[in-house]
């Protein structure tokens, strides 16, 4: 049926231009990260391009810097705490939103979204001030709970969209077979939800590990997370050390990407 299509020169040029911009944008998305990885293997003590030699000494250097290692461990702790809290709070909330039979399920889904819609920096300032009023000073725990509140919506949304596509009759079948509500949740619903929970866990972990906007106001002064440490490092050092830290983080991101594509598939990230 393609015989009817008009193919004029203008059309071809226009579409060509659009594809050219698309390819430019796609290159723009990855090129900077690739350049950082290349720089991280440079032998020179300052950042320049193209590199002059190959060495892994900056990677060794990263793990020799006590502050950096400590910051990484702190961020790891925050990431894990945020993930666990988001699973514990988010999965039941998603259940209540989708399977609940009370008035206000929609209101509940919207309420969970609110902290995520507010700029992270405003949430950080608000928590810092409120904490100071009741005598809670910034700490790794305040940081973790604040980031949890900020990112909870992502876990709820991911589980919610999976739950909505699950057949409710599976649970009814379990109930007809005299499974108690908890048992049917444990043996039927929960296993089906696992991929969504895993994907949500990846996103919440990454946020806990990388978040700066909330963390910068709520982190403890003695346990600085990696983003805060990196921010000052980037501003005051010019060696490829930061590039090496970035290299480590890019590897982590690739692991996260693989996990997401294995759990819910990349096409479903939008939901």
């Amino acid at each position: 049926m393609k015989a009817f299509r008009k193919t004029s020169l203008g059309d071809a040029l226009g579409i060509g231009l659009i594809f050219a911009v698309a390819i430019f944008s796609l290159v723009l998305l990855v090129a900077p990260s690739i350049i950082v990885v290349i720089i991280s293997f440079d032998t020179r003590a300052y950042v320049s391009f193209p590199p002059e030699g190959f060495t892994v000494k900056w990677y060794a250097e990263v793990f020799k810097q006590g502050e950096l290692v400590e910051a990484m461990l702190n961020s790891l702790q925050v990431g894990i705490t945020v993930t666990l809290l988001c699973i514990l709070l988010g999965v039941p909330t998603a259940l209540a939103c989708v399977r609940g039979r009370f008035r206000g399920t929609t209101a509940l889904s919207l309420f969970v979204l609110v902290p995520h819609m507010v700029p992270g920096i405003v949430l950080g300032v608000a928590v810092l001030f409120a904490g100071a009023l009741v005598g809670v000073s910034p700490s790794i725990w305040l940081q973790s709970i604040s980031i949890t509140v900020f990112i909870l919506a992502v876990m709820v949304r991911t589980v919610q969209s999976r739950l909505m596509r699950l057949d409710a009759s599976l649970e009814e079948a379990a109930a007809n077979l005299r499974a108690t509500p908890f048992n049917s949740l444990r043996t039927v619903t929960f296993p089906l939800l696992l991929p969504a929970i895993l994907a949500g866990a990846v996103f919440t972990f990454v946020e806990g590990f990388d978040n700066l906007s909330v963390a910068i106001f709520t982190h403890g002064f003695r346990d600085r997370p990696l983003p805060v440490e990196l921010l000052s490092l980037v501003q005051f050092t010019s060696s490829p050390l930061v590039a090496a830290v970035s290299g480590v983080q890019i590897v982590l991101a690739i692991v996260a990407l693989v996990l997401v594509s294995m759990s819910i598939g990349l096409d479903n990230v939008n939901e």
């Binding site: 950042v47 700029p119 949430l123 709820v156 700066l212």
Partner: protein, 310 residues
């Protein structure tokens, strides 16, 4: 056989399990209660406190508030301070420009996604989602490497003999804008892809079978149908770029003041609580106003499409 005899065969369910059953059986709000409580304590109440701090005079001694009285002074001070107007204007125009450029550079990618095969689609998804899983600081740092005095751009231009001395790109408005667009591009592309894959490809094929050129199909069919995606993407990119702190701080060289860096300085360095609260509230309110505007424009064009297509 009754239920009672049935359950005697097993060890009776423990207290925890019975509690879980009770909470789940009515399909009530119970499972969500812990989350609601945490959100109240860590988000809603802090926002209320932020609001109250912005509208009051406080006296602090040893980290405790000694007295707090209602006052509009801080808001009035902020609104009469030219620095505020300049800063918010700068943030607003930077974020709007970023949003517009993200649409311009992101839309073609979504179009390529729509027309491409399985592997093109997969590649686009990987290239779009991977940056979202990478730290914002890392992605900003990359631009320091590229735009710096000895960076990729300058080395290339000097190598080609186009310039003798390194161009000063870092620490300028341009560096901030380039970084902003690249960092927020994935956030624009994802909703566009989502809305594109929701519509039936047959609509596009129908238009082409009826003799529409590819550009014509794009303009009259695909573009109108993807308006909601543009709206969502624009809202996300605007919020993020209007309130970002990393990009201006790092690529602007520490003297590029936008609303977010202003809040940071007021709260962390000069410890001006009321000022910081007022600036945060102004940031939130102005952000909300633009989001409402974006939603209105999106709705207007969506209704227009529905009138014509649906």
């Amino acid at each position: 056989m009754t239920d009672a005899t049935l359950s005697q065969g097993h060890a009776g369910p423990g207290f925890g399990e019975r509690l879980a059953d009770a909470l789940l059986s009515g399909r009530g709000i119970w499972p969500a209660v812990p989350a609601i409580l945490v959100l109240m304590i860590v988000a809603v109440i802090p926002f209320a406190i932020l609001l109250s701090l912005g509208f009051s005079d406080i006296q602090i001694s040893r980290g405790d508030i000694v007295s707090q009285t209602f006052s509009l002074t801080h808001l009035a001070n902020a609104l009469s301070d030219p620095l505020y107007w300049i800063t918010f204007q700068r943030s607003l125009s930077l974020a709007l420009t970023t949003t517009a450029l993200c649409i311009l550079f992101g839309y073609p990618v979504a179009y390529l996604f729509l027309t491409g095969g399985t592997w093109t689609k997969r590649l686009i998804l990987i290239l779009t989602i991977a940056p979202l899983l990478t730290s914002g600081i890392v992605r900003t740092y990359a631009w320091l490497v590229i735009l710096g005095g000895r960076g990729v751009v300058n080395q290339t231009l000097m190598g080609l003999g186009l310039i003798d001395q390194p161009l000063r790109i870092m620490n300028t408005h341009w560096a901030v804008l380039i970084g902003m667009v690249q960092i927020h591009l994935p956030v624009m592309i994802l909703p566009l892809i989502a809305v594109m894959s929701r519509h039936d490809r047959q609509v596009v094929e129908a238009a082409e079978n009826l003799g529409a050129s590819r550009l014509g199909t794009l303009r009259t069919v695909i573009l109108p149908l993807s308006v909601p995606g543009i709206g969502t993407g624009a809202a996300l990119v605007f919020t993020l770029s209007y309130t970002t702190f990393v990009v201006p701080q790092l690529l602007g060289g520490g003297n590029y003041l936008n609303a977010a860096t202003m809040i940071y300085e007021q709260v962390v360095f000069s410890l001006e609580w009321s000022k910081g609260s007022v600036t945060s509230l102004l940031l939130m309110v102005t952000c909300l106003m633009v989001l409402v505007a974006i939603a209105l424009v999106t709705n207007h064009f969506t209704r227009w499409t529905k009138g014509r297509v649906g």
